[in-house]
C-alpha cells in the first residue's frame, strides 16, 4: 500500500470514529441519477444509481454529515467518502452542500474521483424513531485520469432519491 493510500485510509478511519462518537442520526439514501451534461455537451442520459450511508450530527445552525457513497457511473462503479454541510430552512426542508472524494473501482489501480454538489431534502414522514424524506440535487463529478482511457470524464447530473434517518 502506498504512503498516500495509507494516510488516506488512516484519515478516513479517524473521521469515521469521530463522527460516530458525535452522531445523532444515521442516514441511508438511495438515489437514481439523471445525467444532464457530459464534458461540454448538454444531453440527458441515465446516470446510474447511488447508495449513501452517513452519520449526521447537528449544532444550533448546521447539520454535519460524514459517510460513504457508492454509485454506478459512466466509468463503472465508484466509492466515495462524503461530507455534507446542511441547513434547515424550515421544519421539513433543508439544503446542503456536499463534497465527495473517492475512487473509481478498477483493477489494478483505482482512479481518483471527486464530486461537488448541492442537495435539497424534503421530509415527508415523521415516525416514532425514523424520518423518511425525498432528495433532489445537482452534482458535478470528475475522474481526471479516466481521460487516458475514455472521452467522457466529467459529468453533471441530478440525483433524485429517498432517504431514511434513524
Amino acid at each position: 500500500m502506498s504512503k498516500f493510500k495509507r494516510k488516506y485510509l488512516i484519515c478516513f478511519v479517524l473521521l469515521v470514529l469521530v463522527t460516530m462518537s458525535y452522531a445523532q442520526e444515521f442516514d441511508l439514501k438511495v438515489s437514481t441519477i439523471q445525467g444532464i451534461r457530459y464534458n461540454s455537451i448538454w444531453d440527458t442520459y441515465p446516470g446510474g444509481i447511488e447508495i449513501t450511508a452517513a452519520y449526521r450530527s447537528s449544532d444550533t445552525i448546521f447539520d454535519y454529515s460524514f459517510g460513504m457513497s457508492a454509485r454506478t457511473v459512466q466509468w463503472g462503479t465508484q466509492v466515495s467518502i462524503l461530507s455534507e454541510l446542511s441547513y434547515s430552512l424550515f421544519d421539513n426542508l433543508r439544503i446542503g452542500l456536499e463534497v465527495q472524494n473517492g475512487l473509481a473501482l478498477f483493477y489494478t489501480s483505482p482512479l481518483y474521483v471527486y464530486s461537488i454538489g448541492m442537495n435539497t431534502d424534503l421530509i415527508l414522514l415523521k415516525l416514532n424513531k425514523a424520518v423518511i424524506g425525498a432528495r433532489l440535487g445537482l452534482r458535478f463529478t470528475h475522474c481526471p485520469k479516466y481521460l487516458n482511457y475514455g472521452a467522457i470524464n466529467c459529468i453533471l447530473d441530478i440525483p433524485i432519491g429517498l432517504f431514511i434517518s434513524f
Partner: protein, 254 residues
Amino acid sequence: MRENSKILLLFTILTLLVIACSYLPEGVHIDTALNYQETPEYLSLDLISYDSDITLLFLPGGLVDPHAYLSLMQRIALDSINVVIPKFTSNLAIFELSKYESLLDIYPHTGFLYISGHSLGGIAALSAVAESPNNFEGLILLGTYPSEAFAISDWDHSVLSLYAENDSLSTSAEVLGASAFLPEKEILSNVNSLDTLSAGSAKTFYYLISGGNHAQFGDYGVQRGDGVPSISVEEQHQQIHAAIMKFIRWDRSE
C-alpha cells in the same frame, strides 16, 4: 438501529462494490480513417470514406471497460463494418439484457445487423438473439458459450464461436460441450475453409485460437483465473479479426 448493525450495513455495501472492480484497457490509438464517437450510451466506430450497410453490435465482457475492445473492433471497422459497443451499468451487460433494444433506437443504422459478445457479453448477446431472433443476421461468440436458458438451436441464422486454447474461464471443453444449445456444429480447422463452404442450413462454426487466452479477446492485461497465453494480444486479435471477417463475408454471400 444498533451500532453493530450500522457498521455491518456499511461494510456490506462497501464489500459489494469493491468486488465490482472493472478491468481497464491498455492505451489505444484510433486510426484516423475511422469516425470514432463516444456518448454516455455507446462507443461507435465507422469508416469515414465508406457508408457500410453492415453493423456489428458488440457487447463487452463482464466488469471490463468497453474501451478495452477498441483495438480489436477498430480492425473490423477498418474492413467496412460499422461497430457499436454499448456501455452498461457497472460494466455488466448481464444486468441490462434488453439494452440493445433502446440502443438500436438511438444508434442510427440501416442494413444488416450482427451481434457479438465476449464472455458475459456473449451471454447477453445470446439472450438478445433468443428474445428477438429476427433482429439479427448472425451471432459471434468470443470465449463464451450458452446454457440451456439461452438455447437458440432452432435459430435460422449462423453462429461463429471463437474459443482460445489457454482460456481457463471458458475452456474448450465447456464451449464445445454446449454445442447442443446452438445451431448445427461444424468445427473449422482453418477459417479459410469458410470460402469453400456453400450456403445451407444455419450452422455454428467453431474455431480455436491456438495459444490465445480469455483476456486477449479484449485488451485489458491479465485477468484473474485466466490461463497464460503463448501468443501476443496482436496475434490473437489478428486471428479473431480474420475469422469474423470470413464469417460475415460468407454469411453475406449466402
